[in-house]
Symmetry: C2
Amino acid sequence: MLGQMMQQPLLISSLLLHAERHHGSQEVVSRRVEGDIHRCTYAELAARSRRLAKALALLGVAHGQRVGTIAWNGYRHLELYYAVSGSGAVLHTLNPRLHADQLVWITDHAQDQVLCFDQSFLPLVEAVASRLPTVKHFVLMADKSRMPADSKIPGLICYEDLIDSQPNDHFDWPGLDEQTASSLCYTSGTTGHPKGVLYSHRSTVLHTMASALPDALNISARDVVLPVVPMFHVNAWGLPYSACLVGAKLVFPGPALDGKSLHELFETEAVTVSAGVPTVWQGLLAHVAGHGLRFSTMRRTIIGGSACPPAMMTSFEDTHGVQVIHAWGMTELSPIGTVGVLKGHQDMLPLEKRRAIQAKQGRSVFGIDMKIVGENGAELPWNGTASGELLVRGHWVVEQYLQGEQSPLINGWFPTGDVATIDPDGFMNITDRAKDVIKSGGEWIGSIDIENIAMAHPAVAMAACIAARHPKWDERPLLVVVRKPQAEATKDELLAFFDGKIAKWWTPDDVVFVDAIPLGATGKMLKNRLRDLFQDHLLPPA
Amino acid sequence: MLGQMMQQPLLISSLLLHAERHHGSQEVVSRRVEGDIHRCTYAELAARSRRLAKALALLGVAHGQRVGTIAWNGYRHLELYYAVSGSGAVLHTLNPRLHADQLVWITDHAQDQVLCFDQSFLPLVEAVASRLPTVKHFVLMADKSRMPADSKIPGLICYEDLIDSQPNDHFDWPGLDEQTASSLCYTSGTTGHPKGVLYSHRSTVLHTMASALPDALNISARDVVLPVVPMFHVNAWGLPYSACLVGAKLVFPGPALDGKSLHELFETEAVTVSAGVPTVWQGLLAHVAGHGLRFSTMRRTIIGGSACPPAMMTSFEDTHGVQVIHAWGMTELSPIGTVGVLKGHQDMLPLEKRRAIQAKQGRSVFGIDMKIVGENGAELPWNGTASGELLVRGHWVVEQYLQGEQSPLINGWFPTGDVATIDPDGFMNITDRAKDVIKSGGEWIGSIDIENIAMAHPAVAMAACIAARHPKWDERPLLVVVRKPQAEATKDELLAFFDGKIAKWWTPDDVVFVDAIPLGATGKMLKNRLRDLFQDHLLPPA
């Protein structure tokens, strides 16, 4: 027996339609690549998105075809989000920090038909354009006055010409099957080729609804949202969608991600909530501290991508009164899996205990379930100490990679590659990447705990803890350290720093000082490179 | 091209599973019909729900069959919500305030196979049991010790025996099609037979997600939710579902809805948010004022069902610091359509202007669209003054009534029967029921505005404004008034009270004093009865 309620597909175009009809005068403010501040309303943005959808169709973009973007956070990128997905094509956001060869590989793998990019990336695209045979049209997202007189790209199209090519904005978003592919992001794996995650309209809308909930990102029409997290990085954690869902004002920083530019935008636009990875906040907090500035309107900041250092949490919450929301996710999870918002009974705990809970990766939002399993695959208890590989499942979790040959799932669960504990309140804490786990005498040592302690030492700029082969214990932890300029901490000083902070046998066997630790395109340490260099460091000379 | 994300149906059982796994130790507290306070956790409640699901299957309840309930808000009712819907049967909540004949008619129309009811309703059910041929099993929701020695109902089953009949709670909720019917509510129409609205798992879960959003009911794991609105009234506005979605503590008042009992429970259980119709709050506020009490933990109250009187809003917000969230919905909308949470720019307005906005029915939550149309069916502008019939559509709006012969929809939109304005910010304001509109000389007069003014007169206990036939103007407003005890306001005094508050030609032509105005089962004035009595009041004697 079926229910007798209206049948409507869950579509990305519905998000924009809702914003247009119910929050039409709400603003979208962008710092442009051109340098100035651009302002428009959701109603205007929706009208331009419809023109763009019609223009893309005339360029030959058909249902299911991929349109690539290489762009900062801005209104044009947002128009592409809705115009491409809304009309049944697939938005493929490319990370401009990738190596040119990787860009070529990904564009070819995705079979992008059109590539839209900001002026900042014109040299990058010009350099590779001839190696992108699938791309039939290159679109420069710039004012007409900014079009280069003589580009190396033949037939380079001006984005504003596309919009203007349409005599009007009359267009009805098609009533797609909600399982239709909507957008595509590649994981920036530290090994092997990138893998494409193909989101659907349904998975995106459900993720959007869940992500705006009070215990997730908690977004409302009274919020002014500035996503520092790039729109080329897992759809800026869904904020371009959730802002429309609730009618929040959106503020886009464009390419200006330095502390000064960000703080200026926070203050002039009365931003209430922001989101980004720890490294961006480091620059912002340093600028604010260095100039004796405050945040007048910021109330919350969402920190994810990698763990939020405790000092950053203290600075935001105690110095600035800005609540830190610690979130964890993955490209394969659209990306939100867990959010570290306290439960009621935890709100009463002393500050130190609350901070310890907030430092964890958080608890599941509705729509995501998780479990930790031991090496035999059996589920482990949620006692806060048992640690095992983290598996997740839910409405917005990948089932299969694009052109993937075999499913990544294990009995319907996605293995995250993280090793974690879960406490009785459901707060998950990542202790390691499965491939980074150090197995010493049959017991696991979590490299992240060791790195966090090392990072707290005043002389340490960056630290990585890796497994080094050991004649007796099989593997032992080795600490790789980049010292701050002028800092002169010795190996013994650093190792002594672990005393009392960690089990004695977790203390690294040695410290290696290096000038730099290699980072991937999203800023993560490439520990496999370090292992290649130092895995035999503890072995006796051959 | 389809997305490649996991396929999981949106199921009501997932809400309970989420609460069990991620908020297992969260409490559900109930004041029982037995009189005592009962406490359990979501983990315990989920285990009992699984036992109940198995027991109902053994009673012969098959997929799609209806299980009726006549019950107060309590943990057993919540177990039935999940056990019945979760296992693929349909939960049919009956309103105990209906006349016995209506109960019989509805039970027969729904073809209920099992009827579960609280001890309070044993006499009611005993009186009609022989007239309910479809009901194969009657279940008394009571402790074993409370079972009557000798009931007029043969084979009366004890609810706790059903639970205990299962040796364990091992049971996997079935993986249903998300379009499966989950629950059934009848509208208590003021004319004609009641109509059944058959919700689906999908419509319910989407409604649940949207209703918990910050700009809707704003429910989190830090909330303690006390639904005063009955679980037999449109699923208590979805709170039994949304509390599980977010892991909020639930507090059920059982049958004790008087001000003293409610206030006691608010304080002892540290309730943060409640929900109900204005009449309940009137009793509570009177009790609180009469005894000089306060609300220590209450932060928000959701008021719907009928418009919140301005004086009530003032009392909650100014005297008690409790935010009033004005919501509008219908059984046909699951029920939430609009919520009166201010937008950012409105937050800055002076108190008086904010109150005027809050007095409206509110703006659409994502998932519901609305429009107002004129008599020719054309959409009217959102200017706050144009008024027309309100139509809605969305994921949780009825498509067809149970066994309905023809669709109630007009071009895919559901006509609400309300007449409303919508302002440029999307705030909808109901000015009348379409059938209550007074058409004077071709122009509409809104009866609700007139009633609100009359209700503000100190001598008026209740007021209804109806259309009376008129020889010249076709129809003119007639005010029907119940005076407060000892109050002696005259017709002329009352009519003078309208001076300056309303257009002169909207002032009623006459006032009729009555002892009582007839109310329907959900407390709404039956204005059609008044029209039967007084529609010729303004005509010259025949």
